[in-house]
Symmetry: C2
Subunit: 238 residues, 2 copies
DNA sequence: TCTATTATTGACGTTTCGTCATTTTTTGAC
DNA sequence: GTCAAAAAATGACGAAACGTCAATAATAGA
């Protein structure tokens, strides 16, 4: 029915608008400054209406986190199917580029993810949205893990008996997540001699992959150039 | 004067008690559940008295974070001067053991650090405590950086022209901080095949250091055993 | 013992959350 | 076009929390 469709569309549009407002507010005044009253007044709706979309404040935060993880998953998928890759490790480099671009292009998405990981907002939120987070997280891991398993299958990579593809995934995830968290939250990097953390991250990541003996090694291929290409060709760096 | 000393001592004791209560509360009911009224009522003091110790709620959180970073700094210092080290890389392993022990023994300390890094509580807090955080952070980095510079001086480690000891520090920090953050905040590690993340972290860290060609390499020395020894000998693992 | 200083209190104003009875709008049958 | 039923929107309200401050109590020292 036409009317139902229009209603639903309006509902979705309004929901998107609430989230847009919330995202901006979160960015400007932080987690604590985010207020339902202010969202309501900035929208042209009353508070009660906002509460028809989201049970509570935490649900809004989690909805923002859902958008964030969804976006990253999408970017990981684009990166993993990049046609320019000539080897499995190129595809890992492409994922690295996606992670880099994600933080650059959507810093608020990354910030929300951090908030959700540290503040305990889980109790009050819906099972549905919590599950969505896990699905996105799991699929991102599957993408990276899949590339590692491809590498194993093609002989680009071997692992000692007690290590699995998942350990590689965990290593890359830790290193990247940790680095971006520190970069966005520490004020004293510069004065402690860390002038170009992103370049350092790329380097450290490649050293770790070299440690896994994932060929071609860093010395034999310019993965920095590969990452820059991916950022340009897949994500349209200006 | 005797009286002043007693007063001051009482004041410090009460401050410690406030922080103890706050820590427990933070752990039980999370950042949002932490309430000044509840702290006041659980202490046998009124709210006004609490506010004579801490300007606001954020100051309490930051004071907890200060304790956390101070504790870690102390553990890093103990680890870095461990007498059992036979080479510079042993000392790095010792730091790794300290980081591991820190999260194990004081999980609430680590949780507070994460909160402080993500929630924007900085604006309302005192310059003094903010600075203390940076000092601790900087000194931890200096300890690790110092070991790297020792390694360079002794020829255990060489770096390419465009890399510095600080990049090694940043790599270790990222990898560790990221790993512990993920471990304490992700619910789906197990079902995604990451069964022993701490073992994986140790492995990944060693691979990265191998990538830097920090000798003796992982294959030539059992750094896992070194870390276990440090945890036993320095931090008294039961 | 008495006054001056210091410490403590808790009621208060404000803000925000989340609810719900009331009002407004929309829908669809006639 | 009319009207009753359903759906949507409203904002006043109670509860809870923050941070303040005038009033009160405790203490120190003359």
């Amino acid at each position: 029915m036409v009317t139902v469709t229009r209603k639903q569309r309006e509902r979705l549009e309004r929901e998107a608008k609430i989230l847009d407002l919330a995202r901006g507010m979160l960015h400007e005044v932080g987690y604590l400054g985010l207020s339902m009253d202010r969202i309501a007044s900035q929208m042209e709706y009353s508070k009660g209406t906002i509460y028809q979309h989201f049970q509570n404040k935490e649900e809004i935060i989690l909805a923002l986190a859902n958008e964030a993880l969804e976006k990253r998953l999408e970017m990981f998928e684009s990166a993993s199917t990049w046609s320019g890759a000539t080897c499995s490790r190129d595809r890992i480099a492409a994922i690295g580029a996606a992670a880099e671009k994600f933080v650059e292009q959507y810093p608020h998405h990354f910030a929300v993810e951090q908030i959700v990981r540290s503040a305990s907002i889980w109790e009050k939120t819906s099972e549905e949205r919590r599950q969505f987070m896990q699905v996105c997280e799991g699929r991102c891991m599957q993408i990276v893990g899949g590339i590692a398993r491809d590498g194993l299958a093609h002989g680009d990579l071997e692992l000692p008996a007690e290590r699995s593809a998942e350990d590689v995934v965990f290593g890359l995830w830790s290193l990247n997540f940790g680095a971006y968290t520190i970069v966005t939250s520490s004020e004293s990097l510069e004065e402690n001699g860390i002038r170009d953390p992103i370049a350092a991250l790329r380097h450290n990541q490649n050293l770790m992959l070299d440690g896994y003996n994932w060929r071609p090694l860093y010395g034999d291929r310019d993965y920095d150039a590969v990452m820059d290409r991916v950022k340009r060709e897949v994500f349209g760096n200006e």
